[in-house]
C-alpha cells in the first residue's frame, strides 16, 4: 500500500507536485492550491491510500520538491 498525505492549508501553489506527479496532484482552479486526487480529508490532512505501487516514484519526487514540505509518502 502506498499512502500519500497532503497538508493542504499550507500549500503556496507553486505547482511542483503537479509537474512531478501529475497522476496524483492537480492545481485547484478555485483556490490555487494543490489537490491530492481521490483523497479523503480529516482535520486538514488529505490522505490517499493506493495499492498501485507504480505511483510511488513520482510521488516521492513531488514530496522532495515541495518547498513547504506538506507532502508525506509511506509505503507499507
Amino acid at each position: 500500500m502506498v499512502i500519500i498525505t497532503l497538508q493542504r492549508a499550507k500549500c503556496i501553489g507553486c505547482n511542483y507536485c503537479v509537474e512531478l506527479a501529475p497522476a496524483q496532484f492537480q492545481m485547484s482552479k478555485k483556490d490555487g492550491k494543490s489537490v491530492l486526487l481521490h483523497s479523503k480529508e480529516k482535520k486538514g490532512f488529505f490522505t490517499l491510500k493506493s495499492s498501485d505501487y507504480t505511483i510511488f516514484d513520482d510521488s516521492i519526487k513531488a514530496k522532495e520538491a515541495c518547498p513547504v514540505k506538506i507532502i508525506g509518502i509511506k509505503q507499507t
Binding site: I12, C14, Y16, K30, P67
Partner: protein, 414 residues
C-alpha cells in the same frame, strides 16, 4: 510639502493593532498564499478582510493588500476572488507585481500600487505604470539623488495615476534588505526549490559562506563570512533628506516580525515624521530613536543605497543584534474593567516590581509598560513566580488570549 505617509507591516492581528496604536497612516498585509510572505508568517484569510478594513477605517488608516508574487494560470481564479472580496470589504488598494493582478484590479476599479518586485528605477517606467497605478515603490538600490530626480520629473510633467492625482512615490524606510535587486532572487529556489518570488524565500543568504576557487581549491579569505547578508536598512537619521527628495510614502518592512517590533519601529518613525513636519527634527532625537530601534530585532543598521555610500555593509551574525529580548512569563486570565486591573497566570520565570513587561494579543496589539504595583495570589507583593496568579494595574484592556512577556537585556551574539 505633503507629510510622508507611514506604512506599517501587518503579518497578523497583533501587529496590525500595534501599527494602529502607534500611529501608522496605512498598513499592508497578505491574504492566503499569493504574497511575498506566503511562508514566513501566518497569513490572514479571506474571512479576516472585513475586520482588517473595519479596524483600520475606524482610525482612518488605509489598507493595502499585497498580491505581489508571480502568478500562474491556476492562480487566476483566486486572484480575482481576493481582489473582489477586498474591494467588497473596502480595502484601499492592492500592491501588485504581475500584470494579471494589475489588469484584474483595474477591471473592477480597484486602486493599484506597484510592488518593489517590479524594480522601478527610472521615470519612463514610472510613467508607464502610472497608466494603472497611483502609488509606486522605487527600487531599493536607487540613491536619494536618483529618487529626487524621479519625483521632480513627476511634478514637472504632471504625471498622474488613474485617480487623476499626482503619482506618489514610495520607498522602503526600515527593515531587512537582501542581496538581490529589490527582492528578485533565485537563490532560495535553486538551492531549496523554494521560490522567493512565490513568497517562500528560505533566506539562505543569511548564512555563513566561504568562497572556493574551483580550479585550484584555494579558499578565499574573507573578513566577514556573512558575505551575502546585508545589515538592515534604517533611514531615521536622514529622514529629512527623504522628505526633501519628494517621497510621499515610507514603507516599513517586517510582516514576518513580532508585534513589539512593529510597535517600536512605527512609534519611532511616527515621531520622526511629525518632528520633521513641526521643524523639531534634530540629532538628539535621532540618537534616542536609534537607541529605541536597536532594542528590537535587527541585523545591525546601515543606510542602504540611498546616500550613495560604499556598497555592502554586511551583517556579522546570522541572527538579531537587538539589545533587548522578550521572555515568556504567562498568559492573560481576566480583566477587571472598573478597577483597570489585569490578572495573569505566571507559567515561567518570574515577574517583579520594576520589570518592563510586554503584553501581546490579536486585539491588544503590543503594549509595553513598567510594573509599578502588583498583587500576588491576592496579596500585595514584589515578585511572582511560576504557578502564581498575578494582578497588575493596567491603563489598557487585556484579553484571556493575551501573552505576557518580560523585556530583558540581550547579550548580542556575534
Amino acid at each position: 510639502m505633503q507629510k510622508i505617509e507611514l506604512m506599517a507591516p501587518a503579518g497578523n492581528f497583533e501587529s496590525l493593532q500595534a501599527a494602529l496604536d502607534n500611529g501608522a497612516d496605512s498598513i499592508y498585509f497578505g491574504v492566503e498564499q499569493l504574497n511575498m510572505r506566503a511562508r514566513a508568517s501566518i497569513n490572514f484569510t479571506l474571512e479576516d478582510l472585513q475586520e482588517i478594513s473595519d479596524r483600520c477605517k475606524a482610525k482612518n488608516v488605509r489598507t493595502y493588500l499585497t498580491l505581489n508574487t508571480i502568478i500562474y494560470d491556476h492562480d487566476l481564479s483566486i486572484v480575482k476572488t481576493l481582489l473582489q472580496k477586498s474591494k467588497d470589504a473596502d480595502i484601499t488598494a492592492v500592491i501588485a507585481m504581475d500584470q494579471a493582478v494589475i489588469a484584474s484590479a483595474r477591471a473592477i476599479g480597484m486602486e493599484v500600487h506597484i510592488s518593489t518586485q517590479i524594480n522601478i528605477t527610472n521615470i519612463e517606467t514610472a510613467r508607464f505604470y502610472a497608466m494603472f497605478a497611483d502609488t509606486m515603490v522605487l527600487s531599493r538600490e536607487l540613491s536619494l539623488r536618483q529618487v529626487k530626480k524621479i519625483t521632480e520629473q513627476i511634478e514637472k510633467e504632471n504625471i498622474c495615476g488613474p485617480s487623476g492625482k499626482l503619482l506618489e512615490i514610495e520607498i522602503f524606510g526600515h527593515g531587512a534588505l537582501c542581496m538581490a535587486v529589490s527582492g528578485k532572487c533565485y537563490m532560495s529556489l535553486h538551492s531549496y526549490n523554494s521560490s522567493a518570488n512565490r513568497g517562500a524565500c528560505k533566506q539562505n543568504c543569511r548564512k555563513k559562506y566561504t568562497v572556493i576557487d574551483q580550479e585550484t581549491g584555494i579558499e578565499m579569505e574573507l573578513d566577514n563570512e556573512y558575505i551575502m547578508s546585508p545589515k538592515d536598512l534604517c533611514t531615521i537619521d536622514f529622514l529629512d533628506q527623504i522628505a526633501d527628495a519628494g517621497v510621499k510614502v515610507l514603507k516599513i518592512e517586517g510582516r514576518g516580525r513580532a508585534p513589539e517590533y512593529v510597535a517600536k519601529v512605527i512609534k519611532c518613525y511616527r515621531d520622526a515624521i511629525d518632528s520633521i513636519e513641526a521643524g523639531t527634527y534634530n540629532k538628539e532625537k535621532v540618537i534616542s530613536w536609534m537607541l529605541e530601534l536597536e532594542k528590537v530585532y535587527n541585523r545591525g543598521f546601515w543606510s542602504g543605497y540611498y546616500l550613495g555610500q560604499k556598497l555592502g555593509e554586511w551583517s556579522n551574525g546570522s541572527g538579531s543584534h537587538a539589545t533587548q529580548k522578550k521572555v515568556y512569563l504567562g498568559k492573560g486570565m481576566h480583566y477587571y474593567p472598573k478597577a483597570n486591573i489585569g490578572e495573569f497566570k505566571i507559567e515561567a520565570y518570574d515577574i517583579s516590581i520594576g520589570d518592563t513587561i510586554l503584553i501581546t494579543g490579536p486585539t491588544t496589539g503590543a503594549q509595553e509598560m513598567e510594573v509599578k504595583e502588583m498583587y500576588v495570589n491576592d496579596v500585595k507583593g514584589e515578585k511572582a513566580t511560576k504557578g502564581d496568579s498575578c494582578t497588575i494595574p493596567l491603563e489598557f484592556r487585556i484579553r484571556p488570549s493575551d501573552k505576557l512577556y518580560k523585556i530583558v537585556k540581550n547579550t548580542v551574539e556575534a
